[in-house]
């Protein structure tokens, strides 16, 4: 989907991605947000279809009232009209907690992903002498370890959807069925991968990623070409484009300065 399609379709890829993620959030859920598009997706969900969802941040803000989009999870905007302003210790404990953690949906991003949804956000190449160094885990490893369900944002490129991660920062389904339990983690894990080309999910039995939907104008073959491992394409549907209502709320209420939408 290039600039031309964006203009034709009337929405950008980032808008499509944000809305695709927002649709994954159920009303009443507790939503863990990282920086950038994941935050915007949570704001969109809250404003569109999940008004009773609770947005919370690893920095300790619980149930933030986001009147302006924050540019980091420590932005003072996340501290406004919360239920409680705590710190990192409280936020991560909420996710590790046996009674609240399984009600949290986490939204993550990464530099690399494998077929089981394991993530790398640390380094490309040799860890001790990296070709490219990234920010590191932040809270991603913690979220991926604790919560019941994660949604992952990715740029859809072959070098990012890889057979083998250069570094496993955040656990997904590890090596398939029973993988998490074998290493001592709880049963939940990655559920959805939202890219700039489509939406991928994980097979219930094999825990392998498959193509669930392409955005309008994108073909399954195009997605396979941009993926470094073989995808099951058979279940791919066409993803419903953003509605006018969704776009309007996203643009006017969530990010009018287009700080995240670009």
């Amino acid at each position: 989907m290039g600039k031309k399609e964006e203009k034709e379709n009337g929405y950008s890829r980032r808008e499509m991605m944000t809305i695709a993620a927002a649709r994954e959030i159920n009303d009443g859920e507790i939503v863990f947000c990282g920086t950038g598009i994941s935050m915007l997706a949570a704001m969109a969900a809250k404003n569109i279809s999940a008004p009773q969802s609770t947005i919370f941040f690893e920095t300790g803000a619980i149930d933030s009232r986001l009147e302006e989009v924050p540019l980091a999870v420590a932005d003072s905007r996340v501290m406004h009209a919360t239920a409680v302003n705590g710190g990192l210790a409280e936020a991560f404990a909420t996710m590790q907690n046996r009674f609240t953690g399984n009600r949290v949906v986490g939204i993550l991003g990464a530099a690399q992903i494998d077929i089981y949804g394991n993530l790398n956000s640390t380094a490309i190449g040799d860890y001790h002498n990296p070709d490219v160094r990234f920010s590191g885990s932040g809270g991603a490893c913690d979220v991926a370890s604790f919560v019941n369900r994660t949604i992952i944002f990715m740029q859809h490129e072959k070098r990012k959807f890889v057979e083998k991660l250069d570094y496993l920062t955040s656990p997904g389904w590890i090596d398939g069925p029973g993988g998490r339990e074998r290493i001592g983690l709880g049963p939940g894990g990655p559920e959805t991968v939202i890219t700039d080309l489509g939406v991928l999910r994980f097979a219930r039995e094999s825990k392998k990623m498959y193509l669930a939907a392409c955005y309008p104008g994108v073909t399954p073959e195009e997605i396979q070409l941009n993926t470094g491992f073989a995808l099951d394409l058979k279940q791919a549907e066409v993803f419903p484009p953003p509605t006018n209502n969704e776009l309007e709320i996203l643009r006017e209420r969530c990010d009018p300065q287009r700080l995240i939408l670009g």
Binding site: S76, G139, Y167
Partner: protein
Amino acid sequence: MKSSQNKVTTIAAAIALLVKDNCHLSIGGFTINRNPMAAVYEIIRQQKRGLHLYAHSNGQGVDELVGAGCVTRLEIAYAGNGRFAPTCVRFRRAVEKGEIIVEDYSNYQMTLRFMAGAMGLPFLPTRSGLGTDIIKNWGFSKELRKNDETLPDHKLVTIDNPFDSWCDSPKLVLVPAINPDVTIIHVQQADRRGNARIQGLTFADVEQAKAARHLIITCEELVEEEFLKRDPDRNQIPFLHVDTVVPIAWGAYPTACYRYYDYDPRYLNNYRQAAEDENDYQSYLDKKIMGPANHLEFLALSNEKHLESLVADPETGYATGLERR
């Protein structure tokens, strides 16, 4: 020192006294908020070298210390700066060039490491890290750890739950405590003895503060002890832990200080751009940081009206409607 009734001093004196070359340092704040920037810039001005720095996600402060060549070893969870730098630029370069050794943890692991230090414990457990390269790959080698008594012998230790299946946790990751030689945090209000009040999120500042052998508190406002004692439910750090108190307005600038001022998007964007180029970065260091003799002169480099635009709205605690592109 910690029992003194008046711990007020200047940032220059506090840094000269407590931040020694090669010491283990921890700074508070998180990415673009409440980093103790006045202290960071003073450390750069005093050309401290060989620092062993601990951070969870303390973005801007970490990147400036790394960029200025003060840091040799870094234990960290996240070196990013929100939308202003998905990966901090000077950090990225320093790692890619092998100029610093990094030990990676997660944010919760780092929080627990400070918490263990604050609690006087050698470690705390968590389930985070199981199955990851955070456990498998050590930035500091076994040999380095063995030969350096300021480091624990292991990066992390995985154990079976000694209480069997209690709490459905068959395995736990133990994270070793951090007790920095010095922690520096920036708070909204403190008194002369060192009692301190943080407004808004505390991040891991309280744990970092209590874990440290020495603690420097910089504050926006020096207030009377009576003022803080009238409402102790709002205070987090008792004077017992504090060595020095440095009143310094705009002490977190260019990062934000909730209820006082917002982060400066222009500064942070310009910083990122300068950081991408060696010449530009050197010129940034020379003109912006080494040029001014102190934080006041540093602030004077910014247009007064621009700074005013960052002042927090009393209702929301940030600069509502600020141009942030």
